[in-house]
Amino acid sequence: MLGRRGALRYLAVPPYAWLGLFFVLPLVLVIAISLRPETGPIDFDDPWQLSLMQYQIVLETPAYLRLLGISILMAATVAATATLLAFPVAYFLTFRARERATFYLVLLLIPFATSYLLRVMAWRLMLGQEGAINSFLQFVGLTSEPLDLLLYSRAAVVLTLIYVWIPFAALPIYAAMQRIDRGHLEAAADLGAGPWSRFMRVTVPLALPGALAAFFMVFIPTVGEYVTPSLVGGTEGIMYGNLIQDFFTSAANWALGSAFSVFMLVVTLVLVVVALRLVDVRRVAT
């Protein structure tokens, strides 16, 4: 079996090395840079000084904190809505689609395989002043002037992101529902549970891990979004990610940008851990 153990050298070491080098090390570097006092692009030949100055700016500027709060709320709204809309989709695929389940699943996956930027663009084209919705409303005579409340707002960003994430959110819920043992449902029926109580007390609790996975798989990338807000959000709809992007492009303030990144990452992960705790407690209680 000696030859077998030796295989770990080429099986486990490369992924460890790769992720250590290109995932862990960069994150450590961002933390280190966020502790530097410079206010522009950084020359790494300069001596390293330690300072909490950047975090002071991050924590003491109300507008920045507020923007993070808004981004978290937007992400939570997007994740909750996408998960709620994906739930009946997954339920239909699991329990009602029967032999055509594969066909329906493929129909759901096609929009997901469509370019993300293209789907965001579609919404910009629909919501704009000269966009499809406005020109349609005018064409059928419902409005005479274009409505400009649609595009370049927080609502446009949230709407677009919900749209983008629905198919993705359906996948973990579908996977969880497929694992539900039909025997549990039969047992519940034999013991006199009606359809509603079978749904609420058997299906939903067993599908909950999938729904939670869906929620967080949407929530985490959405908190850090900057591409979608810059396309459909305008100045009204910017998120925390746009702030970070600014500090690495036009504003070029790397240390401060790093502090923003670290702060967002920490807040996001703390929220995820706390949320998982709360849900576990509730499951123990019932």
């Binding site: 295989a7 486990a12 699943l105 629909m126």
Partner: protein, 270 residues
């Protein structure tokens, strides 16, 4: 499902109370409508998406093939996608075999590490790699984009391959080794062929993840843009839109085909 359950209204909510099929179809319509609109728009003579549509044309599709910068960005994306998908699939394969077949220190750490890129927002990954490459003085290029995409694709490859590896009968490997094969040969001649469809499915999934990714790529690309970066940069020019959409439609047909293949392979159980 037994007759008893079906008689009492199926596995969940009673059929009469919630029109599930209608809900599903309504959501599908919502998902397809914007895409369909773009598709129709790519054949319209007008550069604004307005009703009623005016004029049918294939000019935008012709212009795609005359636009060198556009074609080059698509080629760049292809290169990055192939590199990232190959890297992530190989590394994910290593993780799945090591974790399923071996007991070693750092085993749970390896699974956790391979899944962790999923819980870090893309902008943080992009920014951190951007700083790393500047720190070690590596010029940014398509290779650095591919490195970034490998990191975000590893969780997907690992999830797909771990599931398949877990269902593989270890006796087949033991038999090969009893018959004198080295472990390396066993991996190559027994494990890899058995994992074949899942490996391809993982590769295609990673390719699609990379091909569509823009948030990280923007920070890591040098002078050569990938297609999403090119698209993102050109979107503010309204008159360029129809050509870009035509190109995106062509690429969409490609990625949807790949996605369907990945899906088929992923479902197959040997």
């Amino acid at each position: 499902m037994t007759a008893a359950v079906r008689r009492r209204g199926g596995a969940g909510i009673g059929r009469t109370r919630v029109p599930l099929r209608a809900t599903y179809l309504a959501i599908l319509v919502l998902l397809y409508f914007p895409i369909g609109l773009l598709f129709v728009f790519s054949f319209s003579e007008n550069t604004l998406l307005t009703f009623p549509m005016e004029g049918f044309t294939l000019d935008w599709y012709r212009e795609v093939f005359e636009d060198d910068a556009l074609l080059e960005s698509a080629r760049n994306s292809l290169i990055v996608g192939v590199l990232a998908a190959t890297g992530a699939t190989l590394l994910g394969f290593g993780v799945s075999v090591a974790v399923v077949r071996f007991r070693f220190r750092g085993r749970t750490g390896l699974v956790a590490l391979a899944g962790l890129p999923l819980v870090v927002p893309f902008i943080v990954l992009g920014v951190s790699l951007f700083l790393l490459f500047i720190f070690v003085d590596v010029p940014r290029s398509l290779v650095t984009v591919a490195i970034g995409h490998t990191v975000v694709a590893i969780p997907f490859a690992t999830l797909i391959l771990l599931a398949r590896m877990g269902g593989l009968d270890q006796n087949l490997e033991d038999a090969a080794m009893d018959l004198g094969a080295t472990y390396r040969t066993t991996l190559r001649r027994v494990v890899v062929p058995l994992m074949g469809p899942s490996l391809l499915s993982a590769w295609l999934t990673c390719f699609i993840v990379s091909f569509d990714e823009v948030a990280i790529a923007i920070f890591l690309a040098g002078g050569d843009p990938t297609f999403p970066i090119f698209l993102y940069g050109q979107l503010r020019f309204a008159q360029r839109l129809p050509v870009l959409i035509a190109m995106a439609v062509l690429l969409m047909i490609g990625t949807v085909t790949l996605c369907l293949i990945a899906f088929r392979l992923g479902r197959r159980r040997v």
